[in-house]
Amino acid sequence: MEKIKRYTPIGLTIISILIMAAGILMGEPGEVFTKAVTLCLSCIGLG
């Protein structure tokens, strides 16, 4: 149990890197970019 606890942080970092890499391979950064450069007026309370 102690050993599991000890390696939890590094395990979480590795899992996060893998999740992020999967997102990049699926093309998610492009989607983030598209949404971020498109002005959505209703999203900021206008319209």
């Binding site: 590094i10 990049i24 309370g45 319209g47």
Partner: protein
């Protein structure tokens, strides 16, 4: 420590909002910086913003995630969750205290000399409501006439969006002023409410509302960097409780020291007169250091003999 933290927070606010050449007709930045999701509440529709807001990106993924719709996207936000996970698995909720622009604003507002009010602890559950309902469920479940969801948190709650995007865009683009309606006034009154609340209570938005802080806070207990409370060194002066921006009372055992509410400002570490609060980076690193230290000691011991 506090001054250093302020400078770092200020620097990150500038870095996230370093588009200085703002022109009419081209109100928001469209450069490569918007691929990046930095862990701080900074609206990407702000004319000066050069990075993306992870919360806005996550809601957009939820709003467009449609398995049975032809135009739907198969993305579930792995890129955003992964990037948040990398940061928070190392330092936990530290970005809230050290780089969030909206956190900085709340701290500055609290410095105004006014009578202060305590934070009502049950409000802390609001963060769960806003994350589960407004960021995940409503954008995914409630569809508009086009068949997509909406960014419910951005649209109906986020005061950072009104402050950083709504108001500046109205100032830059006069054509947008005809779009002002009931929703804008509702969000403006929410913003004013949060500004007034921040003047009398420290970081109320972070403590009662912020879903991003909650996501980062989940990692506080498991991150590389962790706080430790040594009961035997505590002189019971309550300095940590009085200085804590999250109002955590760990010296009495009421809150865990690595609670999801802790923003890792490290005020308690620097203020404690008995050194009862310490911070470690990782147990593995710590053990390695101890091992090296003991090896060095035994080596010296042998040489002395």
């Amino acid at each position: 420590m506090e001054r250093t933290r302020f400078y770092i927070q200020f620097l990150f606010t500038l870095l996230m909002n370093c588009r200085l050449w703002i022109t009419r007709g081209n109100p928001i930045y469209t450069g490569p910086g918007k691929y990046l999701c930095l862990p701080g509440l900074n609206c990407y529709s702000c004319p000066a913003a050069v990075t993306s807001c992870p919360l806005g990106a996550l809601q957009n993924f939820m709003a467009t995630l449609r398995i049975n719709l032809q135009m739907g996207q198969p993305f579930i936000g792995l890129y955003v969750l992964g990037s948040l996970g990398i940061v928070s698995s190392i330092v936990g909720r530290m970005p809230c205290a050290w780089l969030c622009p909206f956190g900085l604003l709340q701290e500055l507002l609290f410095k105004i000399h006014l009578p202060k009010l305590p934070f009502w602890r049950p409000f802390r559950w609001g963060r769960y409501l806003f994350l589960i309902l407004f960021v995940i469920i409503l954008p995914f479940v409630l569809l508009d006439q086009t068949g997509y969801g909406q960014t419910w948190f951005c649209k109906y709650i986020c005061p950072a969006g009104t402050l950083e995007a709504g108001i500046p865009l109205l100032a830059i683009e006069p054509g947008l002023r005809r779009m002002i309606g009931g929703l804008f006034f509702f969000k403006l009154s929410l913003l004013i409410g949060f500004i007034v609340w921040s003047m009398v209570t420290l970081r109320p938005f972070c403590r009662a509302v912020c879903p991003l802080g909650l996501i980062l806070g989940f990692f506080n207990r498991f991150s590389w960097m962790r706080l430790h409370f040594h009961q035997e060194r505590c002189v019971d002066c309550k300095a940590c409780y009085r200085t804590c921006p999250a109002g955590l009372d760990f010296s009495n055992g009421i809150d865990p020291i690595n609670s999801t509410s802790c923003i890792r400002c490290l005020r308690c570490v620097s203020i404690c007169p008995g050194g009862a609060v310490t911070v470690t980076i990782s147990k593995i690193v710590q053990e390695q250091k101890q091992h090296e230290q003991s090896a060095e000691n035994s080596h010296c011991h042998q040489e002395q003999r």
